[in-house]
């Protein structure tokens, strides 16, 4: 029981500092999250991590709810609560605090510089997140073809993403991927 409590604390701490790595979007934090929750602490397997990300895409609300998924796997409902709170609460408090000061900072030339400097860092992290997830989700030519088809369909037509994702599931089910 004490061991469990310790691991619960570790879970909360891990998602807390992970939440602060998300510059420009949740996808940015995916490579490090995978390294921590799959590689370091083995709370989920690589396949479960990808499945959890897919489920969180299908769930309304923020994608970073994947924290709830990992927390649930590690320690049931208490784990889900701890991981979810660690992911969302501290960052939200910081956001509320900064908003009170931001109006005075906005005119400063360095405020604009920080903004311009962080955008490419955030986008590079997002691209790394895509790469990390693709390495786990694409195995063999069939999944590669499906991912490519989804990319082309979404780039060419203004389809609702959920339709394409569910169609991918249907193809996977019928083809036995």
């Amino acid at each position: 029981m004490t061991l469990d409590l310790l691991d619960l604390l570790r879970l909360g701490w891990t998602f807390l500092w992970l939440s602060f790595l998300a510059i420009g979007g949740g996808l940015a934090v995916i490579p490090e999250m995978q390294r921590q929750v799959v590689g370091r602490f083995a709370w989920v397997t690589a396949q479960e991590f990808v499945d959890g990300y897919t489920l969180s895409q299908l769930t309304p609300g923020p994608n970073m709810l994947i924290a709830v998924f990992v927390g649930y796997r590690a320690h049931g409902v208490p784990g889900a609560l701890v991981a979810g709170a660690a992911m969302f609460l501290p960052a939200s408090v910081l956001a509320a605090l900064v908003q009170r000061r931001w109006s005075t900072l906005r005119g400063h030339p360095w405020a604009g510089a920080v903004e311009r400097a962080l955008v490419p860092v955030g986008l590079g992290l997002m691209a790394a997140g895509v790469f990390t997830l693709a390495r786990a989700a694409v195995h063999g030519w069939a999944t590669a073809a499906l991912a490519t088809a989804a990319t082309v369909l979404l780039a060419a037509f203004a389809l609702p993403p959920i339709v394409v994702v569910l169609a991918g599931g249907l193809v996977g089910w019928l083809a036995g991927l």
Binding site: G84, A91, A155
Partner: protein, 176 residues
Amino acid sequence: MNRVRMRSLVRVFAWTGLTSLGGGRSAYFFDAVVTRRPWVRTEEFVQDLTLAQLLPGPNFSNLAVLLGCRLGGWRGGAWALAAVVGPGAVILAALAAVYFRVGFTPRTAHLMHGMAAAVIGLIVVMTARMVRASIRTVPAAAIAALVFVLVGVLRVNTVVAIALVVPVSLWLHRPR
């Protein structure tokens, strides 16, 4: 002091959270608080959106908190967070329970594998769109490529990569 009643804030934010599936989630908020209701002015929304992306933490909940604080102070921010994260968290916990308890029969595993592959397509397109819209200079492109190679390909620790690259990027983008 507060611009809207707390009850309508919670209702609108919860509804926005529940209906915002797929990419471009902040667009749903724009629709809810700027287009459909006279709650927030466009330039205020853009300010909050920029700040939400700049700040560490999940963008979508950051944006909800910033808009909530604007509309109803601290209480507004707290309720906005609960309204946007709570329902999804309950749904995902339920899905996780099913996933881990029932396990997946081979057939549902195929379904998940297919969806996971399609999600890759979705995030490729989303990321490409953001790169095209936001990266306009050679230094910015170089910084983004450097971060991608370090974290994605070479698997350098993200904290280390950020600590190395952010000062360089700040220098390249310094005010002049």
